[in-house]
Symmetry: C2
Subunit: 255 residues, 2 copies
């Protein structure tokens, strides 16, 4: 595969501890892997975390849209890829992919990032020094990632509580992304998760979650969406009755 | 490094999601990594999980003894190694190491394994077919791994409860080992974990933990052991007031 200047790829061998009981990569680990390749791209361009922090802030993810063809299996050698697609003053749009060595895509992920200023704790204009080296395209209108569907008041739901643990915080000093996926999907239970495959997930991060907090993960009961005929679940992560994260999922039955 | 016939090594690059907030590999991930290399050895010798299961049972870990010089850091390329040291009728003794590419050891781990017969659910004589290919040494007296110290009735303790989640079960269909370490150490809290380094840990598995169970992780408050002058913590995992796992740890203050 010939890479464009704004693209970066690396190989990765899937370990057993990145997989679920059925031997396929967990959704959380899929996100860990693609964040890994984007960090490697940033380091290769000398705009890694330290340089970003030296510019007075940090990258914050606001949305992911995940499309899954099939998830890689244990021991599989996969190619992790990323593209710094486009950006404007405030938003940076990035794509990620996981493919096999013949180029077949397992998953394609879109992500929207903002730059959070450490002093104001608010999003700020993206400094040129940390965006120019990506060869990302400057655009007026950034591609839109649609927000997840919201759980309606009359929808039946289940929920579980989880405490944010010390080892949930990774070396970026934030709750590792994988745990959001584990909290959201665990509520659906083993019977559902063993018999269904995740095909699509949209996730929106609204507020940060911190060490020691108790989170309530709420999931709507799986239901067939009438116009599209798709099996869907909707998800919320709450801290003290405030929504911090929302997501929705589309599923198919495992054959 | 020249390997003996009973040894096996592989390289591994440490990812950010295998590390704690301070950027070093978590104890749980350390164990995941060394189990990974022993699985690779087994597969290379055509005595992987499927073949073991075809012999009517499975390997079960009973004890680990972990000695840590220092833990590898994020992005570090490490060598994972294992040696099928010795065995007798019922016990197989294995060593693991994690080293840098110049041969300096980060950690050395001893593990004791038994073969559990699927029909009787009890330990059984190790079938020759699944031990001979390792070139492990047949011995009468197997090296002993000392058991962890037990929490005394008058010792002050803390505890947390954790539910076993769907994604805690790995493709071996058991609770992934890393979670035992996370449950045990999380009780100590961020203030302690950020300021101390784990130097030694002994862990003994007595009963299996299953999906959906609530576990109570009990830890003694850190105390200086009088004869040895070492900072120690003691740990128990309980399910319905029955001890399933015990461990103890030795710590030093981070400089």
């Amino acid at each position: 595969m010939i890479l464009e200047p704004n693209e970066f790829e690396m190989k990765h061998t899937v370990t057993y501890y990145e997989c679920d009981p059925t031997g396929i990569v967990t959704p959380g680990m899929l996100i860990n892997m693609v964040v890994l390749v984007s960090e490697k791209q940033s380091e290769a361009l000398n705009i890694g975390t330290q340089v970003v922090n030296d510019n007075g802030g940090g990258w914050v993810i606001t949305n992911y849209e995940i499309d899954i063809t099939n998830l890689p299996k244990i021991d599989e050698v996969v190619v992790l890829g990323t593209r710094a697609t486009s950006y404007n003053r405030y938003f940076a749009f990035r794509e990620f992919w996981v493919r096999d060595q013949d180029g077949h895509e397992f998953a394609h992920i879109k992500g929207m990032f903002v730059f959070m200023d450490f002093a104001s704790r608010k999003m700020a204009r993206i400094p040129a020094a940390i965006i120019d080296p990506y060869h990302s395209v400057s655009v007026k209108r950034i591609p839109r990632i649609t927000n997840p569907a919201v759980i309606a008041a009359d929808e039946a739901t289940d929920n579980n509580q989880y405490r944010v643990r010390y080892f949930d915080i990774d070396s970026n000093h934030h709750v590792n992304n994988a745990h959001y996926f584990d909290w959201m999907l665990d509520v659906l239970g083993a019977d559902f998760l063993k018999t269904h495959l995740l095909k699509k997930m949209k996730i929106k991060y609204e507020r940060e979650i911190r060490y020691g907090q108790m989170v309530t993960s709420v999931a709507s009961k799986p239901q067939v969406d009438v116009p599209t005929n798709q099996l869907t679940t909707k998800h919320q992560i709450m801290v003290d009755d405030v929504i911090t994260t929302q997501a929705d999922c589309q599923w198919i039955t495992r054959s």
